[in-house]
Symmetry: C2
Subunit: 292 residues, 2 copies
């Protein structure tokens, strides 16, 4: 049971955590924190938070659980604002989609990786944002990755695990490096491909006409290019090492594919496409059908 939960950044991710814990009876008071007054007033009105402050230090006062749902680019300043205001029994966790940078930001601000920091990443979300888009079931049966370090206290880890279990999440522990590689592969790289594709086409001479002939598959394929550019700038900068490595793997494969196409080597193309289709059908449909 969490006595007082502070949520820094009350949007889809933070708001849904609040709602889920509330529904589960797993939390006492919930204090919100953010910049936008309108969004926070809405959060109170919807019963997502009990009260709020625009000041991080004020918001986390007396909190035994702190959830950081700010963009990766705002993590460092958030840690800085927390310094000197943490309760003795406070545990800190977050929802950022890169983990090395969060831990690094903590080390920069506090001079060490705090033992009560349990960096984490719920693999969940929708296309919508803001507290009004939040809902209690967002984390139900979704994978929650936690990346404890050598410094992480067992008790802190146990409390964050209990929190996500109360939300219905399926918890996996993973090293920081491995998390960042896996996410670079399955999320960050695909976003780069979609942004890059749309941008390439947008820069072509007759781009108005080109987009006019795009069919439904193109729409699905490029949906993620409509994602928040600021968030993705932050992700790229935060996870640039793992993402850079993945980009380079991928570009090597694509260079080879381009050469295979130019040679008109049907046999090699069939082999590549068959292997990809099998992998996609086997892993993706198999895995996602069982959890979605």
């Amino acid at each position: 049971m969490i006595r007082r939960l502070a949520i820094i950044g009350v949007g889809l991710i933070g708001g849904s955590l609040a709602r889920a814990l509330r529904n589960a009876g797993a939390v006492g008071e919930i204090v919100g924190c953010g910049r936008g007054k309108e969004n926070l007033d809405k959060a109170v009105e919807l019963g997502v938070v009990d009260r709020y402050s625009h000041d991080v230090g004020e918001a986390i006062r007396g909190a035994d659980m702190i959830f950081l749902a700010v963009p990766l680019g705002a993590m460092r300043e958030t840690f800085a604002a927390m310094k000197g205001h943490l309760s003795a029994d406070a545990v800190i966790t977050d929802g950022g989609s890169a983990k090395f940078s969060v831990i690094d930001d903590c080390r920069e601000v506090f001079g060490e990786v705090l033992s009560n920091l349990v960096a984490g990443h719920p693999i969940a979300g929708t296309e919508n944002s803001g507290v009004e888009a939040s809902f209690a079931e967002l984390y139900q049966n979704r994978r929650i990755i936690l990346t404890p370090t050598a410094e992480t206290a067992d008790d802190a880890l146990a409390r964050v695990q209990a929190m996500w279990q109360a939300c219905g999440g399926e918890i996996t522990l993973m090293s920081v490096e491995h998390h960042d590689e896996v996410l670079a592969a399955t999320s960050h790289l695909p976003h780069m491909l979609a942004f890059g594709l749309v941008d390439t086409l947008a820069q072509m001479k007759e781009n108005d006409e080109i987009f006019r002939y795009a069919a439904g598959g193109f729409r699905d394929f490029t949906r993620i290019a409509s994602s928040n550019p600021v968030m993705w700038r932050d992700v790229c900068v935060a996870n640039r090492r793992a993402l850079g490595k993945m980009m380079s793997h991928y570009l090597n494969e694509m260079q080879e594919l381009a050469q295979t196409i130019e040679r008109g080597d049907g046999e090699a193309l069939l082999e590549i496409f068959t292997r990809a289709k099998q992998a996609r059908d086997r892993y993706i449909d198999g895995v996602l059908d069982s959890t979605e």
Copy 2:
């Protein structure tokens, strides 16, 4: 009014054309042609075709309209099988997603680009295939591109236009070269990116685990990697010139993006992502919402 329509390849595309024309009362008899007896028996049972033959020459006998819905890689042999069996008033059209290769195949077989050939491409489809997946409304309000050449007879073009209008399609005339470039950009290239991404991940050491953490966005993004590998081999070989050019544009942009990420240049990243998001929101949603 079409007196006798021959459909070579009775699947989603050919079957839907048959159904649409039947519903519109725009066709007399429909003769199917293909290799699979089971599929063709089903087509008769469903009333999609009136009868069928496994022999192309036999199937097109007396037909005043011939629709080729075979894979691009089978076009040349289909033209060869038609030689000597065409009625004097026959018009030939097709549904292939590359057009230069179809016209080239015709030239190779007949020694000239036939004046009664009107190469075409309905921008429509679903994830399903086979005659059982066909439905009369597939072409309703969908774009149908026709690519007449200097050799094409006006009357032949008019008859193919009338056929697609009866199906509810919106017809656009385009040069062969332009069609192949536009489709390389909006369809063939995205398929390459998806096949390449899934194949890159499938070849990584811990690929089982990596796919397990893929979220919903990844599923959408890679859906087209589950497409038919044989069809896509044929498309790549048939459209290798235009596709090769697009791949090279794209890979140049991605190389730059990779360098921008490695530099951690947030400002440049934000610019790229914002430009892509704007293009995607403006063109794709604007265009597709009005027609889908």
